[in-house]
């Protein structure tokens, strides 16, 4: 649909800003142009709209060279929406949208035909500005103005829509509303969109293909997955970038890290938290947030958390809405849920075991509550139908180390292996199958690390960290299991 060949040009002819750009945009494609300030995005945009003369090269739309088209013919092919939203005099919204039909008016008096009016109504409806029809344009908010100008552009019934940072001054709500609308129009009308987007994450979500412009040339052109190349983005933007995946959409999302030297507290790990323990809960509060991975009721996944809780529940707890219940308990005790991980157990909390260890200069704190009434051999087939047995093993491991996300997963396996070994050595059996139990049916685990010191990519059994976790968890699990078992036996 759009074909750009060997394009060169800029504000002055002797020093072109765009130096040799080549690309093609297919029909109905959403093409995003990315690049830092001063990379030449707007210059390239203006070369395509024809606002700036090109030095060499050619630009064709649907096979026609745009340099050969009159403004009128061009307006029938492509519409332009820029970030400037200034209109002189008190024109109303409808009058502004009607201007989009300029190129189509015929006859001596050049007034709007019935067809023109129909199209104007349709696009105003779509952009949701019908209610502002007779309102003066200047009285509208930024988001509304942008929607009106979009309606005007769509009133041109363009085959190609060129957008220069269309959501620049808009808040999240209006940006997404506008982009959703564009995306819908793109699909329904096979509209080709060429857009300068300054937000990498928005570009990733909406564009079909993107180009990364740097110093007047394309660094890379391709599907949005080229944005997963962190090094490339760092080179272009000079900001530390981490690529993640969007949790719901299979597209990359980028996280930037500020370049700040934050002094990390030199406090020892075992002195940097407060422990509060009573019949109802155990609460560990750390001075600084820890990088955590866990499957706890609250605070699951990979997060940064400060508060770590283990709540006691009655053995008949129905578990109807555990998240809601736990949030209530936390707010009752003044613990901020958004910074907390919370587990629950029917085990008596006095039987908690806290292990403090230093191995190879690395500090560890491990907290375990263990009940084995529900012990299960995960390798056996068949499901145990019995419920409401006291028995779950909750493990929290805090390490003064710096682990990658992969190493966090590694740490979980290490802790689990140690737990299983502890159960094995204690001779805990699955009462249903009478084989060695590997855990209980509702175990929770949490690893929290300070992210201080050297970054470690592994935390398995072959590493210092892995070994340390293994030792500490084994010891704590064993002690805690014995404690709660002897309580049951005493009864």
């Amino acid at each position: 649909m759009i074909q750009v060949k060997d394009l060169e040009g800029g504000y002055t002819t002797n020093r072109p800003i765009i130096r040799g750009v080549d690309f093609k945009i297919g029909k109905g494609e959403f093409f995003g142009l990315l690049g830092p300030n001063g990379s030449g995005k707007t210059t390239l945009f203006k070369l395509i709209t024809g606002s700036l003369p090109m030095k060499t090269g050619e630009i064709a739309i649907d096979g026609q060279l745009i340099s050969k088209l009159s403004p009128l013919e061009k307006a029938k092919q492509m519409a332009v929406l820029t970030q400037e939203a200034h209109v002189s005099f008190d024109f109303t919204v409808e009058e502004i949208v009607s201007l989009g039909r300029y190129a189509f008016q015929k006859g001596v008096f050049k007034s709007l035909s019935k067809n023109d009016r129909m199209i104007i109504e349709e696009v105003m409806e779509l952009a949701n500005v019908v209610c502002y029809r007779d309102t003066q344009f200047r009285l509208l908010s930024g988001g509304e103005k942008q929607r009106v100008l979009l309606a005007k552009a769509l009133a041109q019934q363009p085959k190609v829509l060129l957008l220069d940072e269309p959501t620049n001054h808009l808040d999240v709500k209006h940006s997404f509303y506008m982009l959703d609308l564009l995306k819908r129009w793109q699909r329904e009308h096979k509209l080709t969109i060429f857009a300068i987007l300054h937000d990498l994450n928005v570009a990733s979500l909406y564009a079909d293909r993107v180009a990364l412009l740097n110093k007047g040339t394309f660094q890379k052109v391709g599907g949005v997955d080229i944005l997963r190349n962190e090094q490339q983005l760092e080179d272009v933007y000079e900001v530390k970038v981490t690529a993640h995946s969007h949790p719901h959409v299979p597209k990359p999302q980028l996280l930037m890290t500020p370049n700040l030297e934050e002094p990390k507290a030199k406090k020892e790990l075992n002195e940097s938290f407060k422990l509060e323990q009573n019949e109802g809960f155990i609460h560990l509060e750390f001075d600084e947030p820890l990088r955590t991975i866990s499957n706890s009721v609250i605070g699951e996944g990979i997060q940064w958390l400060k508060h770590f809780c283990n709540f006691h529940v009655n053995k008949n707890y129905d578990g109807g809405d555990p998240i809601d219940d736990m949030e209530n308990w936390m707010s009752n005790w003044g613990i901020p849920t958004e910074l907390s991980a919370g587990m629950m157990t029917a085990v008596q909390l006095e039987d908690m075991v806290l292990v403090n260890k230093t191995e190879h200069g690395m500090q560890l704190v491990v907290m375990v509550t263990a009940g084995v009434g529900n012990a299960v051999d995960i390798t056996s087939s068949g499901m145990d139908e019995r419920i409401n047995q006291i028995g779950t093993i909750n493990t929290m491991v805090f390490i003064d180390a710096h682990l990658t996300d992969g190493a966090l997963v590694n740490a979980c396996t290490s802790a689990t292996e140690a737990k299983t070994k502890a159960l094995h050595d204690l001779g805990v059996k699955d009462p249903f199958t009478n084989t060695h139990a590997t855990g209980t049916s509702t175990d929770s685990i949490l690893i929290g690390v300070t992210q201080r010191g050297e970054k470690t990519p592994y935390a398995g059994s072959g590493t210092v960290v892995g070994k340390a976790i293994g030792n500490a968890v084994y010891e704590a699990t064993k002690k805690a299991t014995v404690k709660s078992k002897s309580r049951l036996d005493r009864r």
């Binding site: 332009v80 820029t82 008190d90």
Partner: protein
Amino acid sequence: MPSSSTQKFLNKRIFWVYLISGGFVLSTILFGLFISSVTIPVPNIIHIIFDNVFGWQLVSDIPNNQESIIWDIRLPRVLLAFSVGASLALAGAAFQGLLRNPLADPYTIGVSSGAALGAVIVIFFQLTIVGLGAFTLPFISILGGFIALMLVFGLVKIASRSMAIETIILAGIIMSSFIGAIISLIISLGDQDSMTQIIYWLYGSVGMRGWSHVQLIVPFMVVGMFVLLIHYRELNALALGEEAAEHIGVNVKRGKYFILGGASLLTGASVAVSGTIGFVGLVIPHLVRLITGPNHRHVLPLSFLVGGGFLIIADLVSKTIIAPKELPIGVITALIGAPVFALLLIRNRLGKGKTL
């Protein structure tokens, strides 16, 4: 459907606005013919006009002197006032639309001064271009106005990249002062008699001109009006800014030339026949926009009508207020226009982004 009913209401409303404006023009013409030192009854006035225009001898007993007062003195004066007022108001509306500047007016952006210089040169040196005859005056005047306009634009381009509202006005004032100095120089080179004549002419007046001056302005007025009216859509589109106008299909460069040409034509011809009459082009379009909104489809023709009527009244005031002496008409329009100009400027400064 609410949309069609508002549309109908608007159409209806605009119809009434046109009707009232037309009535306003007709009644000002009648007033202009009626009110003066010698009172002539309205039926006689009408008879004289019908007699001269259509050759209908409805009543035969109208005195000859009445006929010559109406037909040779008052009617050309009224028509001249109308033409000048209409031309200036239309030119003002076009300049404002083109420059996206509610403070623009042939007078404030320096076009009138340029035209005046051209006119003064022709009058002072008694120039006649072969083949143009009497039309030398408006021709040179229009040329002077256009050159002044180009110089002002050049000045603005050098001073700032954006065509800022205040910069254009400032450049216009610089241009006016400079041209004023040149005119003063020319005047001071001449004798006492021509000095008084030129100074009085510069104040602006439509009196003592006769049919010859009406003939001078009308062709230019018709052409200028036609050129501007067929470009009303371009003027509307330019409200978006030049680049955005280009994007919806406007040939901005060509449109600009036509609009500037048309407006200069109107201004130059007006100045040539009546001297510099300021602020008509500022006040009238503003007034019209208050009633109809900014759509140039209506702003242009209505400014034309209302501007014409307005100048007939201004002329009426100028010749009656200190009768039997006459005040230059430019004094009246400046007395009304300058405060309005100040008000618009203040409003514009106070509410940035809030354009008129």
